[in-house]
C-alpha cells in the first residue's frame, strides 16, 4: 500500500552485524577457551574497563557524525585528569576537582569547536593542534611527574558499587542513556544529524550550524573532563601520559560500531558495542595469555575485520 513497503525501510538493526558478529564471535570464542571469562566478576571487569573509553567514544560518535573528528580527546582527558588531581589535592575537595576537570575539558572542547566552526580549520588539523597543546600543558603543570596524595573520596568513584553494580558501570549506563536521549529524542540530536548530513538545511531552518558545532565539540571536551575524574580515581593519582592515544581507540570503536565518516550517518549503540568488543578482546587475550605481540596485532585485526564485514554488507 504505502510506498514505505517498496522503499527498504532503514532498520538500524541492519547495521548490527559488523560489530555484533565480531562481538558475538569473541564472546563465544573466549567463553569456550578462556577459563573464567564467563564469570560475573570477569564480565563486570570488562565493562568497568570499558567505561572510560565509552565516555570518549559516545561524544566522539556525535563529532564524527558532523563529519568532524576530535584527536585531542585523549590528551584533554590526561590534562583534565591532572586538573582533578591537582585541584582536589590542593582543596581536599573532590567536587572542586571535578569542577576544574570539567571546566578545562569544556574549555578545550569549546576551543576545538571554535577553531572548526568559526575559523573553519579542518577538524583533524584543529584537534591535532589542541592535542599538542593539551599534552604540552599536561607536562608543564605536572612537570612530568605523577600527582599523588589526593583525597580518598576520589578513588571511591572508581571502586565503589551502587546496589551491587560498580559505580563506573552506572556512570557509563547513565552516560549512554543521556546520549541516546540526546541524539534520538531531542531537537539538538536532530541537528547533529543535520550538521553532517546537510548544514545548509540548518541554516535555512534559521539555526546556527556554528553554534551547534561548537556545542558538539564542547560536549566532547566536557565528557573528557568527566572521564578525567574516572581516570584519576582509577589511578588514585594524575599522570601526564595516562590518556594519550585513547582518542584513536575511541575513533576506532566508533568506526567499528558502524558510524560512517560521511553525511551524518551514525549509530550510538554500535559505538557502545564497538567499545565492548575491544574490551572483550583484550580481556580474553589476557585470560588465555597469548604472547603480548599477538595482543598488539589483534586490535588492528579486529578493526579491519569489523569494517570489512560492514563493507561486505553495504555492498550486498
Amino acid at each position: 500500500m504505502r510506498e514505505a513497503a517498496v522503499v527498504s525501510q532503514p532498520n538500524p538493526l541492519q547495521r548490527i552485524p559488523g560489530v555484533a558478529i565480531v562481538l558475538g564471535a569473541l564472546i563465544v570464542l573466549f567463553g569456550a577457551i578462556a577459563p573464567g571469562f564467563l564469570t560475573p566478576a570477569n564480565l563486570s571487569n570488562v565493562l568497568v574497563q570499558s567505561t572510560i573509553l565509552s565516555m570518549l567514544a559516545l561524544p566522539m560518535t556525535l563529532i564524527i557524525m558532523t563529519e568532524g573528528l576530535d584527536l585531542s580527546m585523549g590528551a584533554v582527558l590526561t590534562l583534565t585528569s591532572l586538573c582533578v588531581a591537582i585541584v582536589s589535592l590542593a582543596t581536599q575537595s573532590m567536587l572542586l576537582g571535578l569542577g576544574a576537570g570539567v571546566l578545562v575539558g569544556a574549555a578545550f572542547g569549546t576551543v576545538n569547536g571554535w577553531l572548526v566552526a568559526i575559523l573553519g580549520i579542518p577538524p583533524f588539523v584543529a584537534t591535532l593542534g589542541t592535542l599538542g597543546m593539551a599534552q604540552g600543558l599536561s607536562l608543564i603543570v605536572s612537570d612530568g611527574q605523577s600527582v599523588v596524595g589526593i583525597p580518598h573520596g576520589v578513588r571511591d568513584i572508581y571502586s565503589a558499587t551502587l546496589l551491587g553494580i560498580p559505580v563506573p558501570i552506572v556512570i557509563a549506563l547513565v552516560t549512554y542513556a543521556a546520549f541516546h536521549g540526546l541524539l534520538y529524542h531531542t531537537r539538538f540530536g536532530s541537528y547533529v544529524f543535520a550538521l553532517g548530513g546537510n548544514r545548509e538545511a540548518l541554516r535555512y531552518a534559521g539555526l546556527s550550524p556554528n553554534k551547534l558545532l561548537i556545542a558538539v565539540y564542547a560536549i566532547g571536551g566536557t565528557m573528557a573532563g568527566i572521564a578525567g575524574l574516572l581516570m584519576t580515581a582509577r589511578m588514585n593519582s594524575g599522570h601526564p601520559t595516562a590518556g594519550l592515544g585513547l582518542e584513536f581507540d575511541a575513533i576506532a570503536a566508533v568506526a567499528v560500531g558502524g558510524t560512517s565518516f560521511e553525511r551524518g550517518n551514525g549509530w550510538l549503540l554500535g559505538t557502545l558495542l564497538g567499545v565492548i568488543a575491544v574490551g572483550v578482546l583484550r580481556n580474553g587475550l589476557n585470560l588465555i595469555s597469548l604472547p603480548s605481540s599477538v595482543q598488539v596485532a589483534s586490535v588492528g585485526v579486529l578493526v579491519i575485520v569489523a569494517l570489512f564485514l560492514d563493507g561486505l554488507r553495504s555492498r550486498a
Binding site: 500500500m1 504505502r2 510506498e3 514505505a4 522503499v7 527498504s8 525501510q9 532503514p10 536521549g181 529524542h185 531531542t186 531537537r187 539538538f188 536532530s190 541537528y191 544529524f193 543535520a194 548530513g197 546537510n198 545548509e200 538545511a201 540548518l202 541554516r203 535555512y204 531552518a205 534559521g206 539555526l207 553525511r263 551524518g264 550517518n265 551514525g266
Partner: protein, 504 residues
C-alpha cells in the same frame, strides 16, 4: 506591466534594483521583480542568468549588495532566512536541503519540531501525525518515519515540497522542481500548485521547460546576464519570442540535423547484457554516424545501461563488443578504447568542481596528449584553450574554477574532456538536464558535428521531444529491459510513451 486581476492591487512582494556581485561575476544587475498574491510567476533565463541568485536574495540566503524590499507595500529588510520566513517565504532549492539520515517528518519540521514534555525533546507522536497530514494534502502516500536517505530523487523532491508547504508560506519559490520528477509526480505537483494558487499562495517558478511555462504561468519575468529583460504574460508571447528574450538571439528549437542516409559500420553491439544494477537482457546496436536514443520512464534503467557499457557498474552476463573487439572491465578500459560517458550528474560525477576548467578538460586525455607519461602544463593549457574556443565555453580563462561556471558551460566542459581524448562513442545521460535553450541547441549542434565526423552517440533523455528531434532511431526501456525499438519514422512522443508505460 499590470497586476493580474485588479490593476489596483499592490504587489505582495516587490524587489527593487537588486544588485549582487560575486568575485568576477555580476550575478544581478539592478533587477526589479514584483510578485502578486495568488499568481504563478515564471522566472526564465539562460544558465547563469541569475535566477537562483535572485531567489536566494529574496529568501535571505544571499545578502544583496544594493536594492530594497517591499512587502505589501511596506519597506522591509530581508537579511537572513529567518527574516524571509517571518514574511512567509519558503523555498525549494535546486540543491536539496534534506538531511539524509533523519526521517521524513523530522526533515519537514527541522527547526520547528513540536516540543515534547521534557524540555528539548520532540513530541514524536505529534510530529508524525502532522507530517502524515501534510503528506496527505500533497497526495504523497508514504510513511513519514521513513529515513530520507532511502528515498529516490523524486520522492525527496516531494519531501522538499512538503517541507516548504508546512511553513504555511504565502510565497513559495520553486527552483526547477520538475528536473528530477517523473510524469506522474509532475502531474501531482501541478495539481498541488493549482490548489495552492486557489488558496492565495504566490508561487515563483523557475524552469527551463517551455511547456511548463505556458501551462502553469500567469506571468513571466525574463533575466539575461543578471539583468531583467522583460515581464510578459504567456498569452502575449510565443515560445520563439521568449527564447529570443532569454538568449538575445533566435534559436531553432527543432535542432536541425543532417541525418545520414546510410549509417556507417557497427561500432557498438550489446548482446544479452544483464547487470545487478537492475537491467537484464539488453540488446543494442550503435553505428558510426548515428545518434541513437535511449528512452523510457525515470527509473527504467537507462542510466544503468550506460554505466554498464562504460564499465562503471559490474556486468553479470552478456557481451559488449566495441569497434570489433569485446570489451570488459573498469571505465579506464572503455575510455582507452574510445568510449565516453557524459554522466547524469555533472557536479558529482562529471567534474572536479574545485579544480580549474583546464584541469578538467585535459583529465581524460592525459594519456593521449602525453604518451611519454610526462605532463607539460603549457601544452595542457594550450589544449584547454583550444577546447574552450571550439566549444565556446564562457569562462574568463582556463584557470577559472569550474564550479563557478554556469550549468551549461559545465556540461560543455564534461563533453570537452572527451573530445580531447578522441572518443568514438559518446554516451550522453541527460545531456540537457537543467540547461537553457541556447546551450541546449549548441550542445545538439556539437553532437551532430561529432557524429557527422564519424563518431556515434547513444543519448538518454527524459525530454521525448529532444529524442524525436535529434535521434536517428531509439530504444525504449521499461523496467530494466528494452521494450522496443523505434526507427526514425516511428519516432514520435506517443510511441515512446506507449512502449515505455508500465502495463502497456
Amino acid at each position: 506591466m499590470n497586476a493580474p486581476g485588479n490593476a489596483a492591487a499592490t504587489p505582495l512582494l516587490e524587489l527593487r534594483d537588486i544588485s549582487k556581485t560575486f568575485p568576477g561575476v555580476k550575478a544581478l544587475d539592478d533587477v526589479s521583480f514584483a510578485l502578486y498574491a495568488g499568481e504563478v510567476h515564471m522566472l526564465l533565463g539562460e544558465n547563469g542568468a541569475g535566477k537562483s541568485s535572485l531567489m536566494k536574495v529574496l529568501c535571505g540566503a544571499y545578502s544583496a549588495d544594493a536594492g530594497e524590499f517591499f512587502f505589501e507595500g511596506k519597506k522591509v529588510t530581508i537579511a537572513s532566512t529567518a527574516d524571509a520566513q517571518k514574511l512567509g517565504i519558503a523555498v525549494i532549492f535546486q540543491e536539496f536541503s534534506l538531511v539524509p539520515y533523519l526521517d521524513i517528518a523530522q526533515n519537514i519540521f527541522l527547526g520547528r519540531e513540536p516540543k515534547g514534555r521534557i524540555p528539548g525533546t520532540i513530541d514524536r507522536r505529534r510530529i508524525l501525525a502532522d507530517a502524515r497530514r501534510l503528506l496527505d494534502t500533497i497526495g504523497f502516500d508514504i510513511d513519514p518515519s521513513v529515513i530520507v536517505n532511502t528515498l529516490g530523487v523524486a520522492q525527496q523532491q516531494m519531501v522538499e515540497i512538503a517541507k516548504a508547504i508546512s511553513q504555511n508560506a504565502r510565497i513559495l519559490v520553486m527552483d526547477e522542481p520538475t528536473a528530477a520528477l517523473s510524469d506522474r509526480e509532475t502531474e501531482l505537483l501541478f495539481a498541488l500548485i493549482a490548489r495552492l494558487k486557489a488558496d492565495g499562495v504566490s508561487i515563483v517558478y523557475i524552469s527551463h521547460r517551455m511547456a511548463e511555462v505556458f501551462s502553469l504561468g500567469d506571468r513571466i519575468t525574463v533575466l539575461r546576464d543578471g539583468r531583467r529583460i522583460d515581464g510578459v504574460r504567456p498569452a502575449d508571447v510565443t515560445p520563439d519570442q521568449l527564447v529570443r528574450m532569454m538568449v538575445g538571439r533566435t534559436v531553432d528549437m527543432t535542432y536541425p540535423r543532417n541525418f545520414a542516409d546510410k549509417p556507417g559500420e557497427v561500432l557498438l553491439t550489446v548482446k544479452g547484457l544483464t547487470a545487478a544494477s537492475g537491467i537484464s537482457d539488453i540488446n543494442i546496436e550503435v553505428r558510426r554516424g548515428e545518434i541513437v536514443g535511449l528512452c523510457g520512464l525515470v527509473g527504467s534503467g537507462r542510466s544503468e545501461v550506460a554505466r554498464a557499457i562504460f564499465g562503471a557498474d559490474p556486468v553479470a552476463s552478456g557481451e559488449i563488443v566495441f569497434d570489433g573487439k569485446p570489451i570488459s572491465g573498469e571505465p579506464d578500459v572503455a575510455a582507452r578504447r574510445g568510449i565516453a560517458l557524459i554522466p547524469e550528474s555533472r557536479k558529482s560525477e562529471g567534474l572536479a568542481l574545485l579544480r580549474s576548467v583546464g584541469d578538467n578538460l585535459v583529465v581524460s586525455a592525459l594519456r593521449k596528449l602525453f604518451p611519454s607519461g610526462l605532463f607539460d602544463p603549457r601544452s595542457g593549457q594550450r589544449t584547454a584553450d583550444g577546447l574552450i574556443r571550439q566549444l565556446r565555453i564562457a569562462t574568463p580563462s582556463a584557470r577559472q574554477t569550474v564550479g563557478l561556471l554556469s550549468g551549461g558551460n559545465q556540461q560543455k566542459v564534461v563533453i570537452g574532456k572527451w573530445l580531447a581524448a578522441g572518443a568514438k562513442l559518446f554516451i550522453f545521460d541527460e545531456p540537457t538536464r537543467g540547461i537553457d535553450v541556447g546551450a541546449k541547441s549548441e550542445i545538439f549542434a556539437l553532437i551532430d558535428r561529432l557524429v557527422a565526423e564519424g563518431a556515434a552517440a547513444l543519448m538518454i533523455s527524459s525530454e521525448q521531444v529532444e529524442i524525436c528531434h535529434v535521434c536517428d532511431r531509439a530504444y525504449v526501456m521499461r523496467e530494466g529491459r528494452v521494450a522496443g525499438h523505434l526507427t526514425r519514422n516511428e519516432l514520435t512522443e506517443e510511441n515512446i510513451v506507449r512502449l515505455g508505460m508500465h502495463h502497456a
